[in-house]
C-alpha cells in the first residue's frame, strides 16, 4: 500500500508538472485529491490494515496529500499571477492621448480686472456701491461742483438724453448718492461701473468704458492717507516694487487734485516704448474732496475731510495684459476672450 501511495505521488507530481492551465489544474485536483480521487481510493483500503500499519500508512497518505496540495497551490498562484499580468498587459492604454477636460470659459478681462481691483479695496475695508448708468445732470455734474456752463464740462462731452438726464460720464454720481444716503457718517466705498463719453473710437478711446472710483470721508482724512492708500493698492495690483508719483492736476470735485503715475509695468521704471521713456505710466486721478462737494453731500467741511480717486478699468487692463487696442474689449472675439481663461 505504501508503494502504491509513493507511486501515486510520483505520478501526480509528474502530471502536475505538465499542467497547462487553471482548468486542467482543477481537474487534476479532483482526479487525485477529490472525494472520488485516486488518493481517497487507495486510502479506502486502510480498513484491511493491521493496527500497527494503519498510522504509518495514514502518515504516508497525509504526506502524499500535502505534497500534491503544495504543488497545486504553487501552480495556482503562478496561474493567477500570469492571469493578472496578462490582464494588465491587455488593459494598457496610451497615456499620452488627451484627457477629457472640464469646461473652461473666461470672465471678461474688464470684469476680471475690476474684480481684482474690488478685492484689493475690500481687503482694505471698503464696501462697493453702485448706481444708475443714466443719471440726472444734478448728480453727474452739479453736485460735483460742475455747474452748468462750467468750463470743465468741456473735458467730458456727454451723451444727453434730455436737458437734465444723461449717460453718466463718470461713476462719481454714485459717490454723491452714497454721501447723501450716509447722512453725515464716515464713508469708505468704491464705485465701479460703465460710463459714457462722446469720444470717437480708436485704439485708445472708447465712448463706453468702465471706471472704478473710490471715496473716503472721515473726521481726519489727510492727503498723506490718500498717498498711502494708493501706494498700497498699486503694490497689490502691480507688485511690491511698484511706486507711485503724484503730479498736481485739476478736477472740479477735488482740491488739491493730482494725477498718479505708477512705475512702468513693462520696464520697471527704466524707460521703454510703453512709458515713452519716462519710466512712469499714468493710471489714476485723485484728490481731496472739494468742500463744496462735501457740503452738497450733507457734510460740514469743517468737521470732516475726505479723499477720492478714480481709474479707468480699460487702461489698467491694457497695461496689465499688454493689449494694443481698446476696441478688442467690446468686439468679443472668442480668440481674444479665450486668452483670459487663466485664474
Amino acid at each position: 500500500m505504501k508503494e502504491r501511495l509513493e507511486a501515486l505521488r510520483v505520478e501526480a507530481l509528474q502530471e502536475l508538472q505538465q499542467v497547462g492551465g487553471p482548468q486542467q489544474l482543477n481537474d487534476l485536483r479532483v482526479k487525485y485529491l477529490g472525494k472520488k480521487g485516486a488518493l481517497t481510493e487507495i486510502l479506502r483500503g486502510m480498513g484491511s490494515l493491521s493496527a500497527e500499519e494503519r498510522p504509518v500508512i495514514g502518515q504516508v497518505g497525509n504526506e502524499v496529500r500535502a505534497a500534491i496540495e503544495e504543488v497545486i497551490e504553487a501552480k495556482q498562484a503562478a496561474f493567477q499571477q500570469a492571469e493578472t499580468e496578462n490582464r494588465l498587459r491587455e488593459e494598457t492604454i496610451d497615456v499620452t492621448l488627451p484627457g477629457k477636460k472640464l469646461g473652461a470659459g473666461s470672465i471678461h478681462p474688464l470684469n476680471k480686472v475690476a474684480q481684482e481691483i474690488e478685492d484689493a479695496f475690500i481687503g482694505m475695508g471698503y464696501t462697493i456701491a453702485e448706481g444708475p448708468e443714466v443719471e440726472s445732470d444734478f448728480y453727474n455734474f452739479e453736485a460735483l461742483n460742475l455747474p452748468k456752463n462750467h468750463p470743465a464740462r468741456d473735458m467730458q462731452d456727454s451723451f444727453y438724453v434730455t436737458e437734465d438726464i444723461l449717460m453718466r460720464t463718470h461713476t462719481s454720481p454714485v459717490q454723491v448718492r452714497t454721501m447723501k444716503a450716509t447722512n453725515g457718517k464716515p464713508v469708505k466705498v468704491i464705485c465701479p461701473g460703465k460710463v459714457y463719453r462722446r469720444d470717437d473710437d480708436d485704439a485708445t478711446h472708447s465712448f463706453q468704458f468702465n471706471q472704478i472710483e473710490g471715496l473716503v470721508i472721515g473726521p481726519n482724512i489727510r492727503m498723506s492717507d490718500l498717498k498711502g492708500t494708493l501706494l498700497q493698492f498699486v503694490q497689490q495690483m502691480f507688485g511690491k516694487q511698484a511706486q507711485i508719483r503724484l503730479r498736481p492736476s485739476f478736477f472740479p470735485f477735488t482740491e488739491p487734485s493730482a494725477e498718479v503715475d505708477v512705475t512702468c509695468v513693462q520696464c520697471g521704471g527704466h524707460g521703454c516704448r510703453m512709458c515713452k521713456q519716462t519710466g512712469w505710466l499714468e493710471i489714476l486721478g485723485c484728490g481731496m474732496v472739494h468742500p463744496r462737494v462735501l457740503e452738497m453731500g450733507g457734510y460740514d467741511p469743517n468737521e470732516v475731510s475726505g479723499f477720492a480717486f478714480g481709474m479707468g478699468v480699460e487702461r489698467i487692463a491694457l497695461l496689465k495684459y499688454g493689449i494694443d487696442d481698446i476696441r478688442h474689449f467690446y468686439t468679443n472675439d472668442l480668440r481674444f476672450l479665450s486668452q483670459f481663461v487663466r485664474m
Binding site: P98, L102, G103, A104, G105, S106, I107, H108, L110, N111, Q115, E118, F121, I122, M124, Y126, T127, I128, E130, E133, V134, N149, P151, A152, D154, F159, Y160, V161, I165, R198, F207, Q208, V216, G218, N220, R222, M223, S224, D225, K227, G228, L246, R247, P248, S249, F250, P256, S257, A258, M288, H290, P291, S305, Y330, N332, D333, L334, R335, L337, S338
Partner: protein, 814 residues
C-alpha cells in the same frame, strides 16, 4: 497755449534751465507740458542775402540767375526757380556747406549749364510752418523785411533757434493762457522775479473822449469796456521779431495793427479788438444784447443771424462786432485804415461760450473770455497795445481812456491756518516754509500770532477762492512727492460685496466653469434692434433715445441683451468660430414715458447664448450639439445655487422670433402672484437665418427677483436613518402631455412620503403608435422617523399610478 522759450525769457530769467528742464519743472508743478518742440528743424549756414541782379536763365524759362551779396567778400551767383525773386529783395540764402531740414546739404552745382553757389530758400525749406506765414509769403521764396542786416544768420533773424513748450492746461489755470501768467508760474517755481512789459504811451493834447463814447447796456454780460483812440496809423507788416513770436505761438501775422492786438493778447491774456474808427458811426460804442433775428456780417464774410442770448458791440444802431467772438465786416481794419478804435473789455465767460458754440466760432479770443480774463489787466493791456501801435504803426495815441466799469472787481481774501494746512496734507510744514511759498507766488499775505494766514489772492488767479485752493498751492510748490504716505487713522472697517454683487460673481464663476465666455457689449444700439424681442422689452415700454447720437446704429439704449449676443455669435461664426457659448450680465433700459422726465428703469439681466457644439470631436468622444436642455440646465443650476428653484417654473411660450415649440417662459412665483421674468429657448429658424446662425439657444432673465429671493443660508438636515423604497413606473400616454405636469401630478398624489421623482427614460416608437410616448419614472419613498412597510408603499404607489391613468389617460407599461 504754445510758449516760446525765447519770448518767455523776456519776462523772466530762464538762465540755467533748458526747454526740457523747464518743461519738467512746470509739469511737476501742475502745468503739464505735452511736448517741447525745437523751431529749428535742422538749419545751419543760412544767411540773409541781398539780391543784386536777377536775369533770366539762358536755357530755362522757369529759372532765374541771381547775384547776391551775403555779407562776404564775394558776390554769389545762384540759380533760383521761384517766380517771386526780384532784384533788391532781402532773402534767406543757403550757402555752400549749409544744411536744410531733412539733412539736405547744399553743394556747388550747375543748373542747365549755369553755376549756382547755393540756394535761395522758401519758408517751407527752412522748416517753418508755411500755413502761419502771411499769404503773400506762402508761395515762392521768403522775402525778408527791409533793414534786415545782410549776412546775418537766418536763425537769429527768424528766431528759429528757439523751443516751443506746448502747455496742456487744466480748466482752472487759464492764467497760463498768457506769457505773463506763465512767467508768474515759473517765478513761483524758481523764485525769480517777473519783468513786466513797457506800456507807457506818449502825451497828447487831443483827447480820445472827443472821438469815442462808451456805454454798457448789458451790464451783467460786460463788466468793463475800455477804449483808446489811435490816430494816423500806417498799416503795414509788423516787425519781424513780432511776426516770429506770433508764428512760434501758432498765430499767422497779418498786419501791424492786427498783429499787435494778437501779440498783446498772448502777452497779457486779454483779447483786444481794433476797429477802423472811421467806420464806427460817431465813435459810439454801445454794448448790448442782440435783438432776436438781427443780422450782421462777421470778418470772415459770413452773414450771422443773431438772437437775444448773444452779446454785441454796436455803434448805437447796429452791431459792429460779435463781442469776444469775432469782429464785424463793416468796421474791419484794412490797408486804408487811418484811425483805430481799440477795445479792451471783460465779457461774461458763459455768454461768450454759448455764443461761440452757437455760431460755431472758437477763437483764441473766445477761449480766453470763456475761461475768464483778469480784470486787473484790461487797462494795462489796452495801454500796451496802444504803446506798440505808436511805435510800430506810427500812430498817435490820444489822451485818456474812454471806459465804463459796470462792476468793480472783488478783492478776494482767503484765510488758512498753518495747522489746517498740515492737518489737511499730513505734513509738518513750518511757518517759514509756507511764507516762502506765498512769497514766491507773489500772493500778499499777513500772518496772525496764532498762525493764520490772511492772503490777498491776485486777480490773475481767479481760481483761488477757498482755503483748500491755497492748500493746493502750498502742496504743489512744496512738492507732492514730499508729502508722506500714511495709513488712515481710526478703527478698521469691514469690507464686503453686496448680495447682488456676490451673486453676479458666482454666476460668472459657474458659467465660465461650464465653458462659457463672458462678453461685454455696448449699451447703445440701433432702434430696430430693440424690436427684435418684444417679449423681453416689455409691453407699453419705450426705449431711451439719446438726444444727439453719434450714429443711428448707436442711438438708443438697449432694451434687452440678446440682440447683441446674436451679433457677437454671428461675428465669431464669420471668423470660423462655429461653437459659441457666451453670456452677458448687464443693464437694460426702459421707460414708460414717451418723453423722458425722470430716470428710466435700469434692470440687471443675465443673457446666455449657445450655438454649435459643446465639445470638439475627439478620439474618444463625438462632437455633441447644444440643445434646449443644456440652456435649461444652466438656469436650473443657477436657481439651485441661489436656493430659488422652488419659486421658479417653466411654461411653454411662443414669443416673437423664438421657435414656437421650443421656448419656455421663466416664471417666478412672486409675492403678488406669478410673473414672467425671462424666456429661454431656440431662436426661430427665420431669425437664425437672418443672423447667419445655425441652431441657437438663448436665455434672458431678470436678475432683481433672484437677488431678492436668493438665500445663502445653508440649513443642515440630519442624514436619513431609515431606509428608502424605490419604485419605477413606465406609462404610455399622448406625446403632448408635458413631463412637468406628470411629475407635478406624481408629487401631489404621493405627498410627503415621496422623497424624489426622476424621469429616467422617454421613448417613442412605432410599437407605441403615433402621438404616443412612454415615460419612465423612478420614485423614492421614505419616512423620516420609521421604516416604511412594503404594504403602505404599494398602496401609495398604486394611487400614484391610478391618478396618472385617470388624469392623463396613461397606460401602465408592463
Amino acid at each position: 497755449m504754445n510758449v516760446s522759450y525765447k519770448w518767455l525769457s523776456e519776462y523772466i530769467d530762464l538762465h540755467g534751465y533748458t526747454g526740457e528742464q523747464l518743461a519738467e519743472l512746470m509739469t511737476s508743478g501742475g502745468i503739464e507740458i505735452d511736448v517741447v518742440e525745437s523751431r529749428n528743424k535742422g538749419v545751419t549756414g543760412v544767411v540773409v542775402g541781398h539780391v543784386l541782379t536777377r536775369e533770366k536763365h539762358p536755357d530755362a524759362d522757369k529759372l532765374s540767375v541771381c547775384t547776391l551779396d551775403v555779407g562776404g567778400p564775394e558776390v554769389l551767383q545762384i540759380v533760383c526757380g521761384a517766380k517771386n525773386v526780384a532784384a533788391g529783395q532781402l532773402v534767406p540764402v543757403a550757402t555752400i556747406g549749409a544744411v536744410l531740414p531733412g539733412d539736405f546739404a547744399i553743394k556747388r552745382a550747375k543748373l542747365r549749364g549755369v553755376e549756382s553757389q547755393g540756394m535761395i530758400c522758401s519758408a517751407k525749406e527752412l522748416g517753418l510752418n508755411d500755413k502761419l506765414l502771411p499769404k503773400e509769403q506762402q508761395e515762392g521764396i521768403l522775402v525778408l523785411p527791409e533793414g534786415t542786416p545782410i549776412g546775418a544768420s537766418i536763425l537769429d533773424v527768424l528766431a528759429i533757434d528757439d523751443e516751443v513748450l506746448e502747455l496742456d492746461l487744466t480748466p482752472n489755470r487759464s492764467d497760463c493762457l498768457s506769457m505773463l501768467g506763465v512767467a508768474y508760474e515759473v517765478g513761483a517755481l524758481t523764485g525769480r522775479p517777473v519783468k513786466l512789459p513797457d506800456n507807457r504811451v506818449s502825451d497828447s493834447a487831443d483827447h480820445a473822449s472827443a472821438h469815442v463814447s462808451v456805454r454798457i447796456e448789458a451790464k451783467e454780460q460786460c463788466s468793463h469796456y475800455s477804449a483808446r483812440y489811435i490816430k494816423g496809423v500806417k498799416i503795414g507788416p509788423s516787425p519781424q521779431w513780432m511776426q516770429n513770436r506770433l508764428m512760434a505761438a501758432g498765430i499767422r501775422p497779418i498786419s501791424n495793427v492786427v498783429d499787435i492786438t494778437n501779440f498783446v493778447m498772448l502777452e497779457y491774456g486779454q483779447p483786444l479788438h481794433a476797429f477802423d474808427a472811421d467806420k464806427v458811426e460817431g465813435g459810439r460804442i454801445v454794448v448790448r444784447m442782440a435783438h432776436e433775428g438781427e443780422v450782421m456780417e462777421t470778418l470772415d464774410g459770413q452773414e450771422r443771424k443773431l438772437d437775444s442770448s448773444m452779446l454785441v458791440i454796436t455803434n448805437g444802431i447796429e452791431p459792429i462786432a460779435l463781442a469776444g467772438v469775432m469782429g464785424g465786416a463793416t468796421s474791419e481794419v484794412t490797408d486804408g485804415t487811418v484811425n483805430i478804435l481799440l477795445e479792451s473789455a471783460r465779457f461774461d465767460g458763459g455768454t461768450i461760450r454759448k455764443t461761440s458754440r452757437q455760431v460755431g466760432l472758437r477763437s483764441e479770443s473766445s477761449v480766453r473770455f470763456e475761461k475768464g480774463v483778469d480784470p486787473a489787466r484790461v487797462v494795462p493791456a489796452l495801454n500796451r497795445a496802444a504803446a506798440l501801435m505808436e511805435k510800430y504803426a506810427d500812430g498817435l495815441v490820444l489822451e485818456g481812456i474812454v471806459q465804463e466799469l459796470a462792476e468793480q472787481p472783488q478783492q478776494t481774501v482767503v484765510k488758512v491756518s498753518i495747522e489746517k494746512i498740515n492737518r489737511y496734507l499730513g505734513t509738518d510744514l513750518s511757518k517759514l516754509e509756507i511764507e516762502t511759498i506765498f512769497g514766491r507766488l507773489q500772493f500778499p499775505f499777513e500772518l496772525s500770532a496764532d498762525g493764520v494766514f490772511t492772503v490777498q489772492t491776485p486777480s490773475r488767479r481767479g481760481d483761488i477762492t477757498r482755503d483748500v485752493d491755497l492748500i493746493e498751492e502750498v502742496a504743489r510748490l512744496y512738492g507732492y512727492d514730499n508729502i508722506p504716505t500714511t495709513a488712515i487713522e481710526g478703527a478698521a472697517t469691514p469690507g464686503a460685496l453686496t448680495k447682488p454683487q456676490a451673486i453676479r460673481r458666482e454666476l460668472r464663476k459657474r458659467l465660465t466653469d461650464a465653458g462659457l465666455h463672458e462678453v461685454i457689449s455696448y449699451s447703445f444700439t440701433h432702434p430696430d434692434r430693440t424690436k427684435l424681442f418684444p417679449a423681453l422689452t416689455g409691453a407699453d415700454l419705450y426705449p431711451v433715445r439719446l438726444a444727439l447720437p453719434m450714429s443711428e446704429d448707436r442711438s438708443v439704449l438697449r432694451t434687452s441683451l440678446l440682440p447683441q449676443l446674436l451679433e457677437t455669435a454671428a461675428y465669431n461664426r464669420n471668423r470660423k468660430n462655429d461653437d459659441v457659448a457666451i453670456f452677458e450680465i448687464g443693464s437694460v433700459f426702459h421707460t414708460e414715458e414717451a418723453e423722458l422726465s425722470r430716470l428710466p428703469h435700469e434692470k440687471h439681466r443675465l443673457a446666455i447664448l449657445l450655438t454649435g457644439n459643446k465639445n470638439v470631436a475627439a478620439w474618444n468622444r463625438k462632437a455633441e450639439a447644444y440643445d434646449f436642455y443644456d440652456i435649461k440646465g444652466m438656469i436650473e443650476t443657477i436657481t439651485d445655487l441661489l436656493g430659488v428653484s422652488g419659486d421658479i417654473s417653466y411654461e411653454a411660450a411662443q414669443p416673437e422670433h423664438m421657435h414656437p415649440g421650443r421656448t419656455a417662459a421663466i416664471v417666478f412665483a412672486g409675492e403678488r402672484g406669478p410673473v414672467t421674468i425671462g424666456y429661454m429657448g431656440q431662436l426661430h429658424p427665420t431669425t437664425q437665418n437672418d443672423h447667419d446662425l445655425g441652431d441657437t439657444y438663448v436665455l434672458e432673465v431678470e436678475l432683481a427677483p433672484l437677488y431678492d429671493a436668493a438665500s445663502f443660508d445653508i440649513v443642515y438636515k440630519a442624514l436619513p436613518r431609515y431606509p428608502a423604497m424605490e419604485r419605477d413606473i413606465a406609462v404610455v400616454l399622448n406625446s403632448d402631455v408635458q413631463a412637468g405636469k406628470l411629475v407635478g401630478a406624481v408629487r401631489e398624489t404621493a405627498g410627503e412620503l415621496l422623497e424624489s421623482v426622476r424621469i429616467f427614460d422617454i421613448y417613442t416608437g412605432e410599437k407605441l403608435g403615433a402621438d404616443k410616448k412612454s415615460v419612465a419614472l423612478s420614485l423614492v419613498y421614505r419616512h423620516a422617523e420609521r421604516t416604511l412597510t412594503d404594504e403602505e408603499v404599494t398602496e401609495l404607489h398604486g394611487k400614484v399610478v391610478a391618478n396618472l391613468e385617470q388624469s392623463f389617460a396613461a397606460e401602465l407599461r408592463k
